[in-house]
Symmetry: none
Subunit: 186 residues, 4 copies
Amino acid sequence: VRADAQRSFDALLQAAKEVFVASGVDAPVRDIAAKAGVGVGTLYRHFPQRSDLIIAIFRHELDACALAADTFAAEHPPGEALAHWMQRYVDFVTAKHGLSAALHSGDPVYAPLRDYFDQRLKPALQMLLDRAEAAGSIRPGAEPGELLSAASGLCWGARDGEGWAQARRMVALLVDGLRYGAEPRP
Amino acid sequence: VRADAQRSFDALLQAAKEVFVASGVDAPVRDIAAKAGVGVGTLYRHFPQRSDLIIAIFRHELDACALAADTFAAEHPPGEALAHWMQRYVDFVTAKHGLSAALHSGDPVYAPLRDYFDQRLKPALQMLLDRAEAAGSIRPGAEPGELLSAASGLCWGARDGEGWAQARRMVALLVDGLRYGAEPRP
Amino acid sequence: VRADAQRSFDALLQAAKEVFVASGVDAPVRDIAAKAGVGVGTLYRHFPQRSDLIIAIFRHELDACALAADTFAAEHPPGEALAHWMQRYVDFVTAKHGLSAALHSGDPVYAPLRDYFDQRLKPALQMLLDRAEAAGSIRPGAEPGELLSAASGLCWGARDGEGWAQARRMVALLVDGLRYGAEPRP
Amino acid sequence: VRADAQRSFDALLQAAKEVFVASGVDAPVRDIAAKAGVGVGTLYRHFPQRSDLIIAIFRHELDACALAADTFAAEHPPGEALAHWMQRYVDFVTAKHGLSAALHSGDPVYAPLRDYFDQRLKPALQMLLDRAEAAGSIRPGAEPGELLSAASGLCWGARDGEGWAQARRMVALLVDGLRYGAEPRP
DNA sequence: TATGAATGAGTCTTCATTCAT
DNA sequence: CATGAATGAAGACTCATTCAT
């Protein structure tokens, strides 16, 4: 009995993703189960705690986001790579609507999640910042942790397409702030 | 009986202020009524919507913040006035714990709160933006509503002193973004 | 607003009495509320804990049982007063079907019930034991808490008249056990 | 495959024994299966009804308890044999925590169990009573069925070591009651 | 006008039982 | 035959909101 479980697991993950986007991370458990086409018992079997589900979703997409940093770094000039990745991060955060709220909640259950977040994304952004700084595209002194928090904040409440577009504009503005006062090098 | 009503009103305002700080703006209605020493019915009489209560609490300081725009405009060069006021706005938002959460929640219950917020602060910021733009301190096209939302978002989770300092740094960075690409005029 | 509450309170008490007899003290909260013709919220308002409801039902007769100790002590010789009261206690327990079950369940929900039970009946029995012991009618060292538990246990399943008679015989036997080895004094 | 089935059967019996002691006869089915190291499906195959499992366990231990009567009768004086066996009976009942509840539940599925109970234990206790009575260690007229019920009741709620000790003390007290008023014979 | 009692929908969570693998 | 995943009914509890007093 393996295929069933895997199918349920995947369905739950997918359903939770969608429901969290639509209703936030505090959405009723029953809604997620219903959307996945399984009983609530099945949800509880796979994810005893709500945070288990959140973490499962978060890790998956978070990895993809972190990996994108390398791709962008390889395919774009330093300054553009940074800007692009920040937009990519916006997509990640807005898609995971409410997950940053969980991250910031201070609840100790999310401690591992915070650690994982820092562990994966901070180095990725740090790398992009270093390259952009070395190229003189941005001024020095940017702190990756702060920028990630800030960008998350700028995505706050971005549920619809307009909110997403606004978040992208504001993050672009933030990146422009990094560019302000930079001394381009040859 | 008019004095009673006024007494209830004041007690509710004071109680809500304290409860919001302690438990956030989503605190149970009953807790607020209990702290005020009145029945929940009385609370609903004075504040039919939760947002009415929130507005009542924040109105005074929100007004003060809006008025500060004029002061800064009179006492500083356009670009600096804008930057200073944005920091002033950070102070307001971080002091009103949970306010930005309510603003961004998207919950229609808070619609009146958003309306009042926009009605007071948008014009104030618009004026500062216009002057800074006219002076060539910032590039054109900035949207006050977006900036207010963004700055609120940057204050997300800023409970302690460090969070406040970070919020100020990030808002300063955002303002630098506005400066980036501007063409200074004589 | 007093008549409503009283009406609900009484209805709940009456309903709970009937439901407990029919389905035991673990009957669904909703059943009791339904039988009383009120919402579950009303039940929780009056009786936040299930044990509060049980206590409310049993309190009156429990008090009467405790008071009987004084009466018996005044009207009978120490040894007989003890024996009589233990039979009185049997009547109380057998009449309150399910009470001892709740008392013995070990469920922390019933802790307040146990406390009240101990608070009322332990001192009453202790007094009777002290007097009987002082008179040399029973041997020393009897523990009131144990005896109450034991007598409750002996009433287990005593629903009909025969069960009641048997319970009385067994409790009498237990009291005889206390008498065994006593050294009568003048 | 026959050995597998037998192994599962035995494991389930042993596991159920332990789980019933720890959590009572209403313990989750899953716990028993888990402790036995088998799936719940296997449990249901061997014991379609919960009562089937209870009965299977009960009979085994009940036989051992009944046989102990002969052993005690052979190795101790009549009065002591009775007292000892009653304590042995306490051990049996407390070990089978909650089984007496099932026995008293009135559920017709347990009728054969009740019959078997009476058929095995009543004669055993009757024999001990007869011998003790003949020796003048106890007064005449004791009814084995009542005593068994009573002793079961005294074990009510005896989950921990202290409860067990108390049950033993109370049963000893009950036996002392039988001794009270006896006329020792040479 | 003030009160707070009443309502009941909404949520979480557990677990006996079935059945696909 | 064994497994354990899936199911979903059942029950406890909360709290925003209404309305009788």
